[in-house]
Amino acid sequence: MMEILLNPAMLDIYIVAILAALSCSIIGVHLTLRNRAMLGDAIAHGVVPGLILGFIFTGSREVFPMFTGAVIAALFLSLLAEWLRDRAEMDGGAALGVVFTTLFSGGIILIEMYTREIDLDASCVLHGLIEFTHFQRMDLFGISVPRSIVSISIALFINLSALLIFWKEWKICAFDPILARSMGLPVRTMERGLLIMVAVTTVSCFEAVGSILVVAMIAVPPTIAGILCDRFGTMMLVSGLAGVISAMIGTFSAIHFVDSNVPGMIAVTSGGLLFLTVIFAPHRGVLPVATRLFMWRLRVAREDLLAESLQLSNSGGKFVSPGLWSLSGFAFLQLGFMGYLRNGTPKGRGERIAVTLLRKRGLWQRFAADRLGLPADHLEEPAHRIEHHLDEALMVMLEHEENLSSPQDIDADQNLDAGKE
């Protein structure tokens, strides 16, 4: 850690990576919520000819002309794609794909044609020049600072202030543009503004981190946040956090472990984070969902074993322990370990669980027979399934229903729903 702080060139790389990740992930959330994350991809590539033309027309490598060229290219790109979609009735995604690949290839051709005059080449468009951040400096109020840090900070400042000033407007335009328009909000203007923000962010991050990282930071951290969050604000925060974490881990491992391209490593890291999120996210992750399902099945198997053994011991039958390599075998082991089931008869809490379950089963069967009018051969199997879902509140309700003397119209589904809440 000290080493980073002592080495200003390295510190600058970290700062640029983190700032770029933050500004891109804000934009990314906006786009993701509009199902338009690919617009980031398109703009990151489509601005290339704008950058080059800006250079060609002015002949200078100053920031401003190239910047203007790129923003114009971004606007041109998205308007052309929109026009193709609405007027030529192309599919929206296809229109965007056609426009940005054409523009990007055009840009690459321009670079190759003028490559002797500019020190830009195709690979630096993809990967950027983050390693040289420290050495490309400019004067800011008399202080020499790395140029990329200034340009990315400006983009981040614009994105952050636009986000905070128009917080509720962004939210409503993304969620319900019809309501927004009926309230007199300038939805179109806001969308254009977002477009300009995407363009400004892309262009300012471009030189330092290249198009790969811009695309990754616009698409991946918001997706991670989308899996984890169910509110706009938390999604913004988590997205920014995921971006920063990717930037730090990616930069660190690129410098210290694999000695490779920093933006590429950051993009790979964010992809890894996304994968981890998909697997482990508490609510929607594959593993927690599977675990909850497994625990539930195990509980059902335990309850079934207890009820079965109680029935058998009451009727004098012999309880046969299940095969070891099955779910009920595992449940059987568990019950023995907990002391709920001894020598084929439920004990203590195990007995109480068994009694309750049998009571539920009986109650449901009676309910199904009396109230739903199901024939006898339709009772056993559903009762077996439903009994595990009946909680105390629902039991009380069922008992109450059963004890009512006069049959009344009742809505079984509604009671079930009410019980779940």
Binding site: F175, L179, M183, R231, F232, D411
Partner: protein
């Protein structure tokens, strides 16, 4: 009760020269539960958009409580069609209802405790206060409808438009929505609903607007919802307009009819 909530005068609406509504003249009285009925493509949703002000009509005007709709401060609530909402959007029930307060809050200001309390009150009015922290996708169809009705209440909308709230909901949900509608009517709010199920019109609505590109009939349900009017709405009388629209489409696409191609 006799006041007019919505007055539409000679409204014509076109999408790129293809007319979707022709010369609509209609008045919807205050406090009515009004069904908009007509075949697919009759312009029902378009009519709602025009009232809501999200589409500019090609011709004609709309007055809301006797004020031209562009100048009106009156907020109109809108309950969108189920398919048009992104249910995965990271937003909780209370946040959706709070959106109803944004317009009155104005630019740059953040919603605070007053807005929160008001939104909760509106949520409670439709019996959904317990669900305030749910993500909207986790609700059932009827609960989702109620949340959007609560948002219209939060707008303090005297007029509420709904696009097929009864589409694809089960009987229990339909009952819940109906009871909320009854509450809205008791509140003297005007509710305009695009509705498809002709069987239930007479039970649910006191006012009906029959539409098929042009207005077929409008008025109290008993006198307007007649077999004859329905035949005129869904039957053959309107093919003339269809043909006119088809002709315009042909001009645009530059393609002629099949028989012309044979020449």
């Amino acid at each position: 009760m006799n006041q007019t909530a919505i007055e539409i005068h000679d409204l014509t609406m076109a999408y790129r020269e293809k007319p979707v509504l022709w010369d609509i003249d209609v008045e919807i009285p205050k406090g009515s539960l009004c069904a908009v009925v007509g075949p697919n493509g009759a312009g029902k949703s378009t009519l709602l958009s025009c009232i809501l002000g999200t589409h500019k009509p090609a011709n004609g005007w709309i007055k809301v409580f006797d004020v031209p709709s562009e100048q009106s401060d009156e907020l109109i609530g809108f309950v969108p069609q189920r398919e048009s909402v992104d249910w995965d959007f990271p937003i909780q029930v209370l946040d959706v209802v709070m959106m109803g307060t944004y317009r009155r809050l104005g630019w740059f200001r953040w919603p605070g405790k007053a807005q929160r309390d008001w939104a909760l009150e509106c949520l409670a009015a439709v019996g959904m206060a317990d669900y305030r922290s749910r993500q909207i996708g986790e609700l059932s169809g009827g609960q989702q409808q109620r949340v959007f009705i609560a948002r219209a209440l939060a707008q303090d909308a005297k007029i509420i438009l709904m696009d097929e709230p009864f589409a694809g909901v089960d009987a229990a949900t339909e009952d819940t929505i109906r009871s909320v509608l009854a509450d809205l009517k008791n509140d003297e709010r005007t509710v305009v609903i695009v509705h498809h199920d002709l069987q239930t019109i007479e039970d649910y609505f006191d006012h009906v607007l029959l539409l098929n590109l042009r207005l077929v009939a409008a008025g109290p349900t008993e006198s307007t919802f007649t077999r004859e009017n329905l035949l005129r709405t869904y039957g053959g009388q309107l093919t003339l307009l269809d043909e006119a629209a088809e002709a315009v489409r042909r001009i645009r696409s530059g393609r002629s009819m099949g028989k012309a191609g044979g020449k």
